[in-house]
């Protein structure tokens, strides 16, 4: 594994700023009534997605969740298609069928982002099997939350993934909470053990990483990817992070202890990467430039036509 070049690191910084701005924009247009339903935002979690996706090849598959905006944007989804999807327009990435919780672009290898907790974990394992059975230099990258580690699908999938050496990498974005419940209140673990420790039940490799540090995340994912492709089995990675916003649009986050949010904001992933690559002075400029892109994309998206029922009917079944 070669370390990412300065140009690459710089592009990550831009991506992270873009994600942050896009999420703020989603909130803004939500307030304007342009976003149907609810949204699950990811401000604060940018490094985990950008670092992880930075370690992937273009052929790799991605399995995300309803909290998947950052994955989509880190993978390079077109901004207008992104906003249009969230607004439910025919010009959206999923023709307006998926919405905020299912915003994927299959041409970028994104194969799903279910609303059902844990449901993607077996699916990613299956995609990783396809890669293994075909002998391809390719993996499935599977994102999920801390809360997903308690549902049966997690257990069933991890067991089979390890048993069959599926070419998959599992990444827990541990943002400390399920909806409103701290993960230690729902997750039995040995004292002080991280969630990633659960991989040891299957003899699976595992590691914990600072989820606010994109470079650190990149490193462990690149390593896990290489191991998976070599036929040495999956890795369960826990990226420790935090969501600045509440769980979904209606959640003010009242369950958080005072000061917690502020403490995490001191370790903001954008600030950390900027500092690490000596670009702290440029963040404002980047933000300004990208803000224009974001605003324009959202504006164009808002012009998009609604899909029709006849179109929708055609999306149910393949020919």
């Amino acid at each position: 594994m070669t370390a990412p070049s300065q140009a690459v690191l710089r592009s990550w910084l831009e991506q992270m700023v873009l994600i942050r701005l896009a999420e703020d924009k989603v909130m803004e247009i939500y307030m304007q009534g342009l976003v149907p339903g609810t949204v699950h935002l990811c401000q604060g979690q940018e490094a985990a997605s950008v670092g992880a996706i930075g370690a992937l090849s273009v052929d790799d598959w991605l399995l995300c969740t309803y909290r998947g905006h950052h994955h989509a944007l880190a993978r390079g989804m077109d901004l207008e298609a992104f906003f249009a999807e969230i607004m439910g327009r025919d010009t959206g990435a999923c023709r307006g069928m998926g919405g905020s919780s299912y915003v994927i672009d299959a041409s970028l290898g994104m194969i799903g982002s279910p609303a059902i907790i844990g449901a993607g974990i077996p699916v990613a394992t299956g995609a990783g099997m396809t890669a293994r059975l075909r002998g391809e230099d390719r993996i499935a990258m599977c994102f999920f939350g801390d809360g997903a580690c308690n549902i049966g699908a997690f257990h069933e999938a991890l067991n089979m993934a390890q048993l069959w050496r599926s070419q998959v990498v599992f990444l827990i974005e541990n943002n400390q909470y399920g909806e409103y419940t701290p993960f230690r209140d729902s997750t039995a673990l040995p004292p002080d053990a991280p969630i990633a420790h659960r991989a040891s039940a299957y003899g699976m490799a595992h590691t914990v990483v600072d989820g606010q540090d994109a470079i650190a995340v990149h490193e462990v994912v690149a390593q896990a990817r290489a191991q998976a492709v070599a036929g040495d089995g999956p890795t369960l990675i826990e990226a420790q992070t935090y969501r600045y916003r509440g769980h979904s649009r209606t959640d003010p986050g009242a369950y958080r202890p005072p000061g917690e949010l502020d403490a995490w904001k001191e370790r903001d992933p954008i600030g950390i990467l900027a500092a690490r690559i000596g670009a702290s002075g440029e963040v404002d400029e980047i933000r300004e430039r990208l803000q224009r892109d974001v605003d324009e994309a959202a504006d164009r998206a808002a012009e998009g036509p609604w899909p029709t029922l006849d179109q929708a009917r055609n999306y149910v079944f393949a020919d």
């Binding site: 339903g37 009242a254 899909p307 029709t308």
Partner: protein, 336 residues
């Protein structure tokens, strides 16, 4: 009659939201019986994602209100174990679409253990689920789920069409000695209506409720469709069509008798259902009337969801979920 569900309450009743009626039912049931306890995600300290348990953790404590992990099958199975040993657990499934993760516990275990034991055990578990569309939540968080357990005999199934229904059905379910799944509808949570509480206000198991009496056409509905049918009835009244609206309330036992009696009187039957027709309770009612040779003046009509999945895109969701206007149109069609 839509006034009944919206405005001032009759004597003795308070006017509350549908979700508050759910909360009050839980509260009153817990006060009435100390073996009642609650299990669900984020329902204890945070009061529940739909605020249906606000205050109950503080009032009844950590031994009666449990924040569970995201493990629906597991905690419904745990509820079964509690019930077999003397408690009366109520589990909350946040959205109906999450019920499939818990199908083994709910459809295959809860309703069959007593039978397999030859009646030695019993399983008084209540499973609550909030379902239904209109929130623009998309394909995996908008199903009502109401008919998903129809083929799993051994479960009782209730559907709440009003605050009073939500209260009475839930209290009846909790007091019942067999497993019951109680569905409510998310889009009704903030809708207000009169509520009379009390240990004597338990709904009768298996009894449909006539939400509006009428002479010309029988409309049978569940959940949000009850409200939309009442709206349609109001509109049709001005056209001289007098609609009887039945809030079916229970899908098992399914009160075919009440429907048959009404349809025999009106001679006309419309089903209003926020679900696909095939495999649903609406088809079951029509089939039971058909096999019983129930006399109708005109063929029955079902207003159901078109066979498409639910998109979060507003125009599509609106086009799929039966509106008061579609229901009214169906009523007109059987009157022609």
């Amino acid at each position: 009659m839509s006034s009944q569900t919206e405005s001032a309450a009759p004597g003795g009743a308070e006017v509350v939201t549908y979700r508050e009626a759910i909360r009050l039912a839980l509260d009153d049931a817990m006060a009435a019986d100390e073996t009642v306890l609650l299990l669900g995600e984020d329902i204890a300290k945070a009061g529940g994602p739909f605020k249906t348990t606000v205050g109950l953790y503080d009032k009844y404590g950590a031994d009666r209100v449990f924040d569970t992990p995201i493990a629906e099958n597991g905690f419904c199975g745990i509820a079964l174990g509690m019930a077999l040993t003397g408690l009366r657990p109520v589990t909350e499934i946040m959205f109906s679409d999450f019920l499939p993760t818990a199908y083994d516990a709910i459809a295959m275990e809860l309703p069959r253990w007593r039978f397999m034991s030859g009646g030695q055990t019993s399983a008084p578990v209540t499973v609550r689920a909030s379902g239904g569309g209109g929130g623009r939540f998309g394909a995996q968080t908008s199903s009502t789920g109401e008919s998903w357990f129809l083929q799993f005999y051994g479960l009782k199934i209730a559907v709440a069409g009003s605050p009073q229904g939500a209260y009475g059905l839930l209290r009846a379910a909790i007091a019942h000695n067999n497993p019951v799944v109680v569905f409510d509808h998310k889009a009704m949570h903030l809708r207000k209506g009169p509520l009379v509480r009390g240990d004597d206000r338990l709904a009768e198991v298996g009894k449909a409720v006539v939400a509006r009496a009428g002479a010309d056409v029988t409309v049978v509905a569940s959940l949000l469709m009850v409200h939309r049918s009442l709206e349609a009835a109001e509109a049709l009244a001005s056209e001289g069509i007098d609609v009887e609206v039945i809030d079916i309330s229970w899908l098992r036992p399914l009160d075919v008798a009440t429907v048959a009696e009404s349809a025999a009187r009106t001679g006309r039957l419309v089903i209003a259902e926020e679900q696909y027709h095939d495999g649903g309770w609406g088809a079951s009612i029509i089939s039971r009337l058909a096999t019983a040779a129930a006399p109708l003046a005109t063929p029955p009509v079902a207003v159901s969801m078109p066979e498409i999945l639910i998109s979060h895109s507003p125009p599509l969701e609106d086009a799929m979920i039966p509106s008061a206007e579609r229901i009214a149109e169906a009523v007109r069609s059987v009157c022609r």
